[in-house]
């Protein structure tokens, strides 16, 4: 996922704007309440101020009746009453409330002794005075925001818990069955371009791929033409395993994983295309199981499990756990809905189906997820199989910066897929809406995690009635449950790996939950702030081109398409157009122009 460069100042500008917007939204209740009061010419409610203006001490204030004030709320009730009845005696909170002191004093109680009216003075029942006006604009807004955040967080927790909700944990999140005789040939693509071009990681990955226990495998390491280090590293492995590993040189001017995948696909010969990333440690038995699964179920695509390992620092622990819940549970929920974004690694697609559906979408940096969605929309079955034993291992991020970048890329991937608009081809409005929401969900959940404390904070700041404050505190419930589930997931993951889970790690996970939510939320903001490159490009093109192109842009499947074979890319041509685009708009870089061609393909949803 990800991999596109971001123009820093622009991104910062947009990020700041978004943060400001979020802040304004959170504080809107605060402003609107006062605003409404001012507009309607109402007096500001004394309740909100008297609590804060009064000193907390016990005997600081003596009201007219000569009694020390215990509870500031007494003053509110006695504001009128106390002055009317200077003879007020001991505060008796149990006296029957509900009437004002004056009527009690004038009550024709024959032979009433002087203490009598005092009993009625104490109408200061906090239960009566605080819950005055619940239905104010402020309170409603607060409650609405709180409920919305609660819904988002609860939905996220529900997805997180998907694997454990059924009778049998394995039914909701299936693993592989026993392998049978190999029957399918595989082309394993390892795009090592752009941000993933790391020769130190590429070598070991290719080694582990070369050691795969399967008779029909070709490994295609796609390296950039300008990346000598990767070429050397890949070449060394290829020399060692000439029958298995080939080096494919990506000659595109712009380097992106999707272009590299397209290059690799063009050179591949296998019946199933597999995608791995440099840095993967692949289980040598994996392909045998995948082979059997695909053969038996007839799935067009398959996503197998990935585990991030070696997490020591807090951000790495959270990162590994986030991804673990994704492969262990969340993805299975999506598979149940038959809406399955493939991950950038350990993803398998039948080559013929992939080519029929138009190959990799080179305009979408998140190529593998996009293909998963495209297959889902076209009703090609995509299987999700998670088997801890066979999972691909990756190293957890080693620095906070790396973790943040990974989160941004991950969240931006969903946005990029959403922007490609394949989901618009779903037949029913309900399905389209659900698809859009599902693609927005990870970022929304991350933002909601950021917003969890805001309603409660606003309610406390504004001195909202307790009932409203309780509603405002609702988002904390799913948030805490989510944290508990994460802690349990940490234990289960440790069991998966037969490791002991030190108490320190448990404590770290819980203690750093808040910083992690902050990190995720900021990553989501940053992902939202990434420039809409293809949109800008499309707008420019629409100015030049006819409406027909724009139609296809929105993904309407009505028109006959050009041949949908995977495009052989002409590097020279791409470079020229790319430079042209960059001259037009010097700010954010435009998407690779090859995307235009890829975008014209039509997905037949038969």
């Amino acid at each position: 996922v990800g991999g596109q460069r971001v123009d820093e100042p622009a991104a910062i500008r947009r990020g700041t704007a978004l943060v400001a917007l979020a802040g304004a939204l959170a504080l809107a209740p605060a402003c609107s309440g006062g605003l409404v009061d001012t507009v309607l010419g109402r007096e500001p409610e004394p309740e909100t101020t008297s609590d804060t203006l009064l000193p907390p001490g016990d005997d600081e204030i003596v009201i007219l009746s000569g009694q020390p004030l215990d509870d500031p709320s007494d003053l509110r009730a006695q504001g009128t009453a106390a002055s009317a009845t200077p003879g007020g005696a001991s505060p008796d909170r149990n006296a029957a409330p509900g009437t004002s002191a004056t009527t009690a004093a004038e009550a024709p109680a024959g032979g009433a002794d002087p203490a009598e009216p005092a009993a009625a003075v104490e109408t200061a029942d906090p239960t009566a005075s605080d819950d005055g006006d619940l239905l104010t604009v402020t309170n409603l807004l607060l409650a609405l925001v709180a409920l919305a955040v609660t819904g988002l967080v609860a939905g996220d927790v529900r997805r997180m818990l998907h694997a454990w909700r059924g009778v049998d944990a394995r039914a909701a999140a299936p693993g592989f069955g026993p392998p049978e005789e190999p029957a399918t040939s595989f082309s394993v693509l390892v795009p090592a371009v752009g941000p993933r071009a790391d020769p130190d990681r590429l070598g070991p990955t290719l080694e582990s791929l070369a050691a795969l226990d399967h008779p029909f495998v070709e490994v295609l390491a796609v390296v950039g033409h300008d990346d000598a280090a990767c070429r050397t590293a890949a070449g060394a492995i290829a020399d060692r395993h000439p029958e298995r590993v080939r080096v494919v040189v990506d000659r595109n001017f712009r380097k992106s994983p999707s272009l590299a995948l397209a290059t690799g696909l063009a050179d591949s010969t296998g019946e199933v295309v597999a995608v791995f990333e440099p840095g993967d440690d692949v289980h040598h038995q994996l392909l045998r199981h995948v082979d059997t699964h695909i053969t038996r179920t007839g799935a067009a695509g398959l996503q197998a499990g990935v585990r991030w390992v070696g997490a020591r620092r807090w951000y790495a622990m959270h990162h590994a756990l986030d991804r673990w819940t994704w492969f262990r549970s969340r993805l299975h929920r999506l598979a149940e809905q038959r809406f399955t974004p493939l991950a950038p690694t350990t993803a398998f697609v039948r080559a013929d189906v992939l080519r029929d559906r138009g190959g990799w979408d080179t305009a979408c940096p998140a190529a593998a997820p996009e293909v998963g969605i495209r297959l889902s929309v076209a009703a090609d079955p995509v299987a999700v199989v998670d088997d801890a034993h066979l999972a691909t291992h990756r190293w957890a991020p080693e620095s906070l910066r790396e973790a943040a970048r990974d989160h941004v890329a991950w969240l931006a991937g969903f946005r990029q897929v959403a922007r490609r608009g394949v989901w618009k081809q779903l037949p029913r409005r309900r399905q389209r809406l659900q698809a859009r929401l599902t693609l927005a969900q990870p970022a929304l959940a991350a933002l909601a995690g950021l917003a969890v404390p805001l309603p409660l904070g606003a309610a406390l700041l504004l001195g909202a009635p307790p009932v409203v404050a309780l509603v405002a505190a609702l988002p904390l419930v799913p948030a805490v449950i989510g944290l508990v589930v994460e802690a349990l997931g940490q234990s289960e993951r440790a069991r998966e790996r037969d490791r002991d889970l030190p108490l320190r790690d448990r404590a770290t996970l819980v203690a750093t939950a808040v910083p992690h939510r902050l990190l995720l939320g900021l990553a989501a903001l940053r992902a939202l702030a990434t420039p809409r490159t293809d949109a800008a490009e499309a707008a420019g093109r629409r100015r030049r081109d006819a409406d027909a192109d724009a139609d296809r842009d929105r993904g309407r499947p009505a028109r006959p398409a050009r041949p949908t074979r995977a495009p052989r890319l002409a590097p020279g041509h791409a470079d020229v157009v790319d430079l042209d685009a960059r001259r037009r708009e010097p700010g954010p870089p435009a998407a690779p122009p090859a995307g235009r061609r890829a975008r014209t393909r039509t997905v037949t949803s038969s």
């Binding site: 509870d71 008796d92 509900g98 009437t99 002794d113 009625a120 454990w164 059924g166 809406f339």
Partner: protein, 675 residues
């Protein structure tokens, strides 16, 4: 795994199809459940508001409900955190939705209506739970019958108590913990429902271990941690709302009403009711009362619980719940008189389960011996897979069962017959008695005769009724209230109506008995009207600084008889023999006699009677009304009498003059003691 359909398309059948595919067997079960629920509901509803007499805690719940409904507060005065408020808030919701207080004859009746709703919900949920626990249809029906027909159950279910509100939630929690779909959602929700039950009635927390056990047993080991954690978190979240509420009010601890203070009152400061095993203690009285209503049921329940622990693993959680609650009953300390309500559903389930086991034998053994399809063979959930059409009877099986199980079945039938006969009498009493008539009459009398502005001390149920009738709240002193007894006495002494009215009901007397100061005060009052007799009597008493001397003066027998005798000789006032006898006996109020003399001086009148409320007669109050007619035929004779009467100064001015169509006047003066 792989379905060829695009994303988000529905593959599960819609509700219509699912509804159509409900098997006929299921409908039969529904029919039985609905019929039994209707029958038990009818038994519950007949004479609902009149029997049993008002229970100890009923009034307070009703008063709080009324305060929540009409005043928007959690308590009549100050909410003291002695009980979580959700229970009466639910009753209040019912009252708000249906205008129960406006519709029902009195406040307690409104609360009892809500209890009927809670009972019907409990009955349905009990059926569901029984079926989910694998009880056969007849056993589930037995459970429902025990739950709905036992006199003890009927009496407890009718009373307005927080336990009754909590029972449906508890049953729902257990039913969810026994979900046949075995999903995380229902399991986790059971924790939230238990929290709702605990917020409805604090004692419901006692079944928490049993629910945890049920979840533990139902959930496979690989998901147990998740289920328990999420259920626990939901429980904590819902229960924590109460704590958060107190914290937001700044009433977590400290002086004044506070959560910690309320909990302390509840667990430490409530007076012990003594050991239930030692005669004479309040706890012993309570338990004796329960066993007097139904001796066999509780004993059978106890036996069934022990049997279930040993022999019926699927009912073990329910047995644990029952035994924990029994332990709470027999433990020394304060015993809530309605605590047994929580025992009832578990007892009914356990007895039914044990009976089924005794009659039908071990299902596992049966399944092993008889090769019949569809018998539950394993564990907590009996998923009966029914073949198409009726299962052909297997004569061998039938015979075998009949031979081996006849003694058990016969014993059960005999026990049933005994139980039914003993219950019938109690049921008749519950359907016919009127235990609340005295209170209603006392309330009506108070509303008619209490002078405005005069304070009245009364119990919570009457407080709600009088408040609903429009009595100003500051003219009523609630006693006993939700405070601790000590604080309650202090408060009442502070607010004691020195020239007011005390309504002495069983609840008030019991509360006053705890404090000598209150007793001393009570002795300084005179009964004005007495409704009912014996321990259950409701007395309206007048208090005043000079209550003793004043009443003594008014009841000076010599003076009254002399005046009466003189009046009966008055030529202007002609009297019937009955009226003469009352006068001669000195049973007529001094004001009445004096005014009659004045009327007789104006024009001759005929006095027919001195009518009186029987309650006042019982109390020994002089008669303060007269039934008379002008002897002159003048057109304005009646008007003359009326103007003469209304011209009088208090206390001689009558409170009420009503003129009949035939020229008869009924003149009533205010209650003697209230002048």
């Amino acid at each position: 795994v792989t379905v060829a359909a695009p994303a988000f398309s529905r593959t599960e059948p819609g509700w219509r199809l699912r509804l159509e595919s409900v098997p006929i067997e299921r409908l039969r079960g529904l029919g039985i459940a609905a019929g039994l629920t209707a029958a038990t509901g009818a038994v519950h509803a007949v004479n609902l508001t009149h029997s049993p007499a008002l229970g100890d805690g009923e009034g307070l719940v009703v008063a709080r409900t009324w305060a929540a409904t009409e005043l928007g507060r959690l308590a009549p005065a100050t909410y003291l955190y002695d009980q979580p408020p959700l229970g009466w808030l639910q009753v209040s919701l019912w009252a708000r939705l249906t205008d129960a207080f406006g519709r029902a004859p009195d406040a307690v009746a409104a609360g009892r209506e809500a209890m009927l709703v809670a009972f019907v919900a409990s009955a349905v949920l009990l059926w569901v739970l029984a079926r989910r626990l694998g009880l056969s249809r007849w056993a589930a029906a037995l459970a429902l019958g025990l739950f709905g027909f036992s006199p003890l159950a009927v009496a407890l279910h009718r009373q307005v108590s927080l336990e009754n509100v909590a029972v449906p939630w508890i049953l729902a929690a257990f039913a969810l913990a026994a979900t046949p779909r075995r999903r995380l959602g229902p399991y986790a929700s059971s924790g939230a429902l238990l929290a709702v039950a605990a917020l409805s009635c604090g004692s419901a927390i006692l079944v928490a271990p049993a629910l945890a056990l049920a979840l533990w047993r139902a959930v496979p080991a690989d998901r147990r941690a998740y289920v328990i954690a999420v259920a626990g978190a939901l429980f904590a979240a819902v229960a924590g709302a109460f704590v958060a509420y107190a914290a937001l009010r700044g009433q977590l601890s400290g002086d004044g009403p506070s959560l910690l203070g309320g909990l302390g009152d509840r667990f430490a400061d409530l007076p012990s009711t003594g050991s239930v095993f030692s005669g004479g203690s309040a706890g012993n009285d309570t338990v004796t009362e329960w066993l007097g209503l139904d001796l066999l049921g509780p004993l059978l329940g106890l036996a069934a619980a022990l049997f279930a622990l040993a022999q019926l693993p699927r009912l073990a959680p329910e047995a644990v719940a029952f035994l924990v609650l029994v332990a709470a009953v027999v433990r020394p300390g304060h015993l809530q008189p309605t605590l047994a309500t929580l025992l009832l559903p578990f007892g009914a389930l356990l007895v039914a389960g044990a009976a089924e086991r005794l009659v039908e034998g071990d299902p596992a053994a049966r399944a092993a011996s008889a090769d019949r399809p569809g018998l539950p063979t394993t564990g907590a959930v009996a998923t009966r897979v029914r073949g198409p059409g009726p299962v052909p009877a297997d004569p061998r099986d039938r015979q075998g069962r009949r031979r081996t199980l006849t003694p058990a079945a016969a014993a059960l039938l005999a026990a049933g017959a005994v139980v039914a006969t003993t219950w019938a009498g109690d049921a008749r009493a519950l359907a016919r008695d009127d235990g609340t008539a005295d209170r209603r009459e006392a309330e009506d009398w108070l509303l008619a005769n209490r002078p405005a502005g005069r304070r009245v001390l009364l119990d919570a149920a009457m407080w709600a009724d009088l408040a609903h009738a429009g009595t100003p709240l500051d003219e009523m002193v609630l006693h006993p209230s939700d405070d601790g007894p000590e604080a309650d006495a202090d408060r009442v002494l502070d607010a004691w109506p020195r020239d007011g009215v005390v309504v002495s009901s069983p609840a008030t007397r019991a509360a006053a008995a705890a404090d000598v100061r209150l007793q001393a005060l009570a002795e300084g009052s005179v009964a004005v009207a007495v409704f009912g007799r014996g321990d259950d009597a409701v007395e309206v008493r007048a208090v005043g600084p000079d209550a003793d001397t004043d009443s003594a003066r008014r009841r000076d027998p010599l003076r009254a008889t002399e005046a009466g005798a003189a009046l009966s000789r008055n030529a202007g006032v002609r009297t019937t023999p009955g009226a003469r006898r009352l006068l001669a006996d000195g049973r007529v109020d001094e004001r009445v006699m004096t005014t009659l003399v004045a009327v007789g001086a104006q024009q001759p009148v005929h006095v027919d009677d001195f009518p009186a409320d029987p309650a006042e007669v019982t109390a020994g109050e002089p008669r303060r009304a007269v039934h008379l007619r002008a002897l002159d035929d003048r057109a304005d004779a009646v008007a003359d009498i009326e103007s003469l009467l209304t011209d009088q100064e208090p206390p001689y001015r009558p409170a009420d003059i009503s003129v009949g169509a035939d020229g008869w006047l009924t003149v009533t003066w205010a209650v003697t003691a209230f002048t």
